[in-house]
């Protein structure tokens, strides 16, 4: 088995595992996410905080000597994140959720996905055209 094939297996495993988890905990349900944002239900907030806490422990135990890439702050961090939050509140979807929703059979998520593709494309066009907002986007390895 080539290293390439094993890499595909890893990405595939975590893709399926993550998709199933996000669906089974209700992160793909607009009503649940909306209730989280208006503080009517703290279940998803606790879940997110718990996941961050567990990840903190994991990084602390396993990553003490590792040099893990850190995102850097720049002029786009706050305005970009604010735009993302508005989009999330409207669609109930962050970049992974829209795909999981489609998998669950919520067909309208196709329009969210098309929107995300358009948004990413538009940003890259603008960024290449001289809008000098160099952002350290995650996972670019």
């Amino acid at each position: 088995m080539s290293a390439h094939f094993i890499q595909y297996l890893k990405y595939g495993f975590f893709g399926i595992f993550m998709g199933m988890t996000l669906s089974l905990v209700g992160f793909t349900d607009f009503t649940e996410v909306h209730k989280m944002f208006i503080f009517a239900d703290f279940r998803l907030l606790l879940l997110f905080a718990g996941a961050v806490g567990l990840s903190f422990v994991g990084f602390a135990l396993l990553g003490r000597n590792a040099n893990i890439a850190k995102k850097t702050y720049n002029s786009g961090t706050i305005p970009g994140s604010i735009m993302f939050g508005v989009g999330w509140a409207i669609t109930g979807a962050c970049p992974s959720i829209a795909l999981v929703q489609l998998g669950e059979g919520k067909l309208a998520a196709i329009f969210t996905i098309l929107g995300i593709l358009f948004g990413v494309w538009a940003y890259r066009k603008l960024a290449a055209g001289g809008m000098k907002l160099d952002t350290g986007i995650c996972g670019e390895a």
Partner: protein
């Protein structure tokens, strides 16, 4: 009403994914980065071509690094740094060996990852349903109450999706990259970004709640 997993099981699963992904793959989990690589799929070929000579001959990379070091700091500063050490040996090269380029994950790997998120959603719906895929058009009763139906509804989703796409690129990450992978390591940029996207989502959701006309 669908029964969802309790928060602590979800936290255990999601935390395991964050740590497992980073530990076995080597880069922190970040989904918006995968979207960027797919949209920029054409760049892969150019980058591969530009990197090829450096991969074939690491000495070229070493020379190029030295050249840009001199260009950045000035010849005098570099010579001063070199002469501070015995002989002409650059300490980092002597101890760490020749610089090498990190292996680059092809864009198809990222596409595969995103496709498997769809499969994960399908499998979850088969488990919770009666083994049949459950097709609906809208995102639930409340969402339909807030945003209507038909063409306007689809345009709302497209517009919202575009904000998600543009915003995550400009902001440098999303819920997974900033929110989970970043916050868990107290990366300042990620903490700021998470506060910003969570804050704006709360404001818009409260506006929808009080003025949007939803009853659910």
């Amino acid at each position: 009403m669908i029964e969802y997993l309790p928060w602590w099981i979800g936290a255990l699963l999601l935390g395991s994914i964050v740590i497992g992904f980073w530990f076995s793959i080597g880069t922190p989990l970040g989904v918006s980065g995968s979207w960027a690589r797919i949209v920029l799929w054409k760049d892969d070929k150019h980058i591969e071509k530009a990197e090829a000579p450096f991969r074939a001959n690491p000495a070229l990379l070493q020379d190029a690094l030295m050249k840009s070091t001199i260009a950045h700091f000035g010849e005098e500063a570099v010579y001063a740094a070199l002469s501070a050490h015995s002989g002409n040996v650059i300490p980092t090269l002597a101890t760490a060996g020749r610089p090498t380029l990190k292996a680059r994950v092809p864009w198809t790997m990222h596409a595969f990852f995103l496709a498997m998120l769809i499969v994960g959603g399908l499998l979850a719906s088969l488990i919770t349903g009666d083994g049949q895929p459950h097709l609906t058009f809208n995102l639930g009763e409340l969402h339909a109450q807030l945003f209507g139906s038909g063409f306007g509804y689809t345009m709302t989703l497209f517009f919202g999706g575009a904000l998600v796409g543009f915003g995550t690129q400009l902001g440098g990450g999303c819920t997974s990259g900033h929110g989970l992978s970043g916050c868990a390591r107290f990366v300042p940029a990620s903490l700021i970004a998470t506060c910003a996207f969570f804050g704006s989502a709360v404001v818009v959701s409260l506006l929808l709640h009080f003025f949007g006309g939803g009853t659910a």
